[in-house]
Amino acid sequence: MTTQAQAAPAAQDSPERVLGMVQAINDALDVAMSMDDTVFELGEDIQDPAGGGFKVHKGLSTKFGLDRVRPTPISEQAIMGAAVGAAIAGMRPVAEIMLMNFISVAADQLINHAAKIRYMSGGQTKVPLVVRTTTGAGGGFGAQHSDMLEAPLTHTAGLKVVVPSTAADAKGLLLSSIFDDDPVVFVEMFMLYYSQKGHVPPGDYRVPLGKLRTAREGSDVSLISWGRQVHECVAVADKLSADGIDAEVIDLRSLVPLDREGLLNAVGRTKRAVVVHEAVRRSGYGAELAATIHEELFGELAGPVRRVGGADTPVPYARNLEAEFLPHAGRIEQAVRSLF
């Protein structure tokens, strides 16, 4: 087995190809495993013919074998722990936790070990691990299958946290995460799996961690978001432009590392900010962003940083309640208008 990185396989795809987010992630996994023999996957039900609950791994176990695309028992602690161990011993595991709520089953391995081992060992060992997971409200999956739990992860020193919003970013950020030497939690939102389609560059395409993307230019207010809500923000911004409010939409892409400079530059220009995220509002990552913006731009803002989040409740099942739980366009628009 070779552990050296090899050249990426020649891109066989048309440069103009359009992929959904599921295919983009599949492509990133394919490219990473082709490039580097130390990259492998482990998780529940990821083997063919199913290729995972959302078909993310379709074809990969057939191509790379069950040694590299390893179906596991339902044992999140063992999945996470085995990934940590393999990472310490020189591999680049990509572990799948089927749904983000199940990270709570494996939280010890993630918080006490993956995040801390490099620090505790004084840099002797490192944990080049990616934990991929998916989640989100809106699918009618109820309180135990829908939570966005990125905020607690950003509070865990030693973890990187990435949430892609487009197909191309999903690929480019995942490849960067896999070849990063620190543990990255890569949060996919399944409501984007099929709704997001776009041009995805072939081959070893990378999007660096810690660089925000301006999803929409604008000068009057900055809407700051990640994942699914970026698209909600763009829709609201488009609507508001009819009323003469020119809103910028910022897609953070990675929450840790945070593109602090890019963020503060943007809000420094627009003087108004609304942070939008799906997670429960209280103690969400929006709080960290709002606190930071106020600290750095005190006296320069035209109004307080508004936070639009999920309701401070579990995710309810009934369709109407779930829709109201979400930080929907109505609430985003209201928050923006309150600043003018």
């Binding site: 179906p71 309701a311 409740t313 309810p316 309640l321």
Partner: protein
Amino acid sequence: MTTSLDTETRIEVSPQILLGIYTTAIKIKIYDDTYVSALKTGKAAGMYYSPRGQEIIPSAFAQVLRTDDYVLTIYRGIHDQIAKGVPLRELTAEFLGRATGTCKGKGGPMHITHPDSGLMVTTGVVGSGLPIGVGIALAAQMRGTDQVTVVNFGDGASNIGAFHEALNLASVWNLPVIFVCQNNQYAEYTAYAVGTSAKHIADRAAGYSMRSFRVNGNDPAQMYHAALASVEAARAGNGPTLIEAETYRFRGHTPADPMQYMPKEELQQAIAADPVPALRQRLIDESIATEDELGALEASLKQEIDEAFEFALASPQPDPSELYTDL
């Protein structure tokens, strides 16, 4: 302390019990058929995990448990819920997210709760019901009641840490709890042996010095015997039991599942041995009931179920203010 019921054992069960088991099992089957066609026609939408093939297990328990006994189950739990007596109207309304549901539509299919029927917890996190069941059994033991707690889960769940901790704790505390592993041979798209190192899940009981039974969960008599023996032991203060009930899942993990991972013949064989019609035939063969009687029973159940769906479909969604209540 570990004993095991040989799957070959032939056990006698009274006609009345057999008829009782059938009555529950056919109710579950008709309910499932109704739900699946409602999904197909678009009358119902959303998550559904069919228990087809596994009906005998809770139906046998229903002959042994009291209303005030406790049951916990999982997302694939409609058979356990019906068998425990959760009223069909409120149950269906909850599945469809209506205000009239058991949980006002806030829990949904994966979180059915109905304490009045003793259905305490339905969980969507694999294995998580086991420690909770231990706690419910502990409460009964501390209060000095003779209530029994039954925790249902799948074969895949036997590989998660919570299983281990729960069985160990139940054993050291000698709790009135019965762990029922409904071994349908698959965890989602993964076959038993890919994830499970034990030849049989019941083999794990020895590591907890726990009584165990391994039975054909589709055989009413064997299943009844295991249920009876374990419930009697728990009620008498003789501690927990692990039951491995071997069965099979006739439908996909979810309705969208094309079931490509199951060998065709294996599935066909299992369906050919469908325990519900087999039990029906036995009732007729042994003159426990006539074709007419069973036909009338089934028709009345179908009517009750259809009415439950109508009730649910006619029910409103919860009031928007419910988003913020019960917290």
